[in-house]
């Protein structure tokens, strides 16, 4: 039983270890699409903040966060060549796990500490001092 499964695993593993199979060839077109999109997605948030076009701070904040998130995805696809199938899906698996950890770390810290600040130290706002 053990030898059979081992050899089967060995062959399956060997095939998928072919050289450079997990890395799609980069293309000039791909890099240029990524670069142009990145320039646009960088220019818009800087322009929004420096000109104050949207007027409302909260709306501007949400807009630049969304644009930043889109730009990160653009970099992942066109510069880091992330595809669901690269390295038999292990890079995508690691990425999804990391994104979950990052979201928990960021959202959890900000959420908890925001409530600590507002609930534990009343009257510490300098603008409220006499």
């Amino acid at each position: 039983m053990s030898t059979g499964s081992h050899s089967a695993h060995g062959h399956g593993g060997h095939d998928s270890h072919g050289h450079d199979s997990g890395h799609p060839e980069s293309t000039f077109k791909g890099y240029m699409i990524g670069f142009v999109l990145s320039v646009i997605l960088t220019a818009i948030p800087f322009w929004l903040v420096m000109s104050g076009t949207l007027g409302n701070k909260d709306v501007t904040t949400v807009a630049i966060l969304v644009l930043g998130a889109i730009q990160i995805v653009v970099h992942m696809i066109y510069f880091l060549h992330m595809t669901p199938s690269s390295e038999n899906g292990w890079t995508m698996m690691a990425l999804i796990f990391t994104v979950v950890m990052v979201v928990i770390t960021l959202a959890g810290s900000l959420w908890v500490m925001y409530h600590m600040n507002t609930n534990m130290m009343p009257g510490m706002d300098p603008s409220q001092l006499p």
Binding site: S2, T3, H6, S7, H9, G10, H11, G13, H14, H17, H19, G22, H23, E25, S26, T27, F28, Y31, M32, G34, F35, S38, V39, T42, P45, F46, V49, M50, K57, T60, T61, I64, L65, L67, G68, Q71, I72, H75, M76, F79, L80, E87, W90, T91, A94, L95, F97, T98, M101, V102, T105, L106, G108, S109, L110, M113, P126
Partner: protein
């Protein structure tokens, strides 16, 4: 006596010793798992930055009656800095394309250009830091500045090591040519360099732009 030894010998023959590892090791081509391993390193680095971002997010509004982001940050300078890093990303892309076409000299040229853009980014960042410290906005001034210098400084340190790595690879390719090992290293540095650009998107959005908005 003899019967028991015979029995135990027979038992030992029939009962295979348990094996807890793959006995028939198929050969891995050298470096076949390097890219995945390096990706896992980048993901762990991502967690380091996530913690630093969270720290900045929590402490970023505690000015201790010191300077606020609005007074300190110079957005045109940050925009220039961002463009340097973005340009270095696309020039590294050109280097990878030349590597695939086996044009060693063109590859080295783009690698040098990338290194120069990276150095320009670092120079602008150090100028900004020096300017802030000169104005009294040192890391010791407030929690905001401590977390700011830690986060942005860690990114700058990564860029520094990326440039050192790039110089090392330029020398290696120059001496040994575009051998398989050097190609692998170039692709690893490519991932590292583009990853730093991804982190910088977070920095300019979360720290600089949102700081000025606040």
């Amino acid at each position: 006596m003899t019967t028991t030894t015979a029995a135990s010998a027979a038992l030992a023959e029939t009962k295979e010793a348990p094996v807890f590892y793959v006995a028939d090791e198929h050969d891995h081509p050298e470096g076949s798992s390097t890219m995945l391993g390096f990706w896992l390193y980048l993901m762990s680095d991502c967690l380091v930055f996530a913690v630093l971002f969270a720290t900045y997010g929590v402490l970023g509004a505690n000015y201790a009656a010191g300077p606020s982001p609005k007074e300190l940050f110079d957005l045109p300078l940050v925009a220039l800095n961002t463009s340097m890093l973005l340009l270095s990303s696309i020039t590294y892309g050109f280097a990878v394309l030349e590597m695939q076409k086996k044009n060693q000299n063109a590859m080295l040229f783009w690698l040098v250009v990338t290194g120069l853009f990276g150095a320009a980014f670092l120079g602008i960042e150090l100028y900004e830091f020096a300017h802030m410290i000169h104005e009294g906005a040192t890391p010791q001034r407030s929690a905001f500045l401590s977390s700011f210098f830690t986060l942005v400084g860690t990114h700058g340190l990564h860029v520094t090591f990326g440039i050192i790595w790039m110089i090392t690879l330029i020398v290696q390719v120059w001496k040994f040519g575009l051998i398989e090992a050097n190609k692998r290293r170039l692709l690893c540095l490519s991932m590292f360099w583009h990853f730093l650009d991804v982190v910088w998107i977070g920095v300019f959005t979360f720290v600089y732009l949102m700081g000025v908005l606040r």
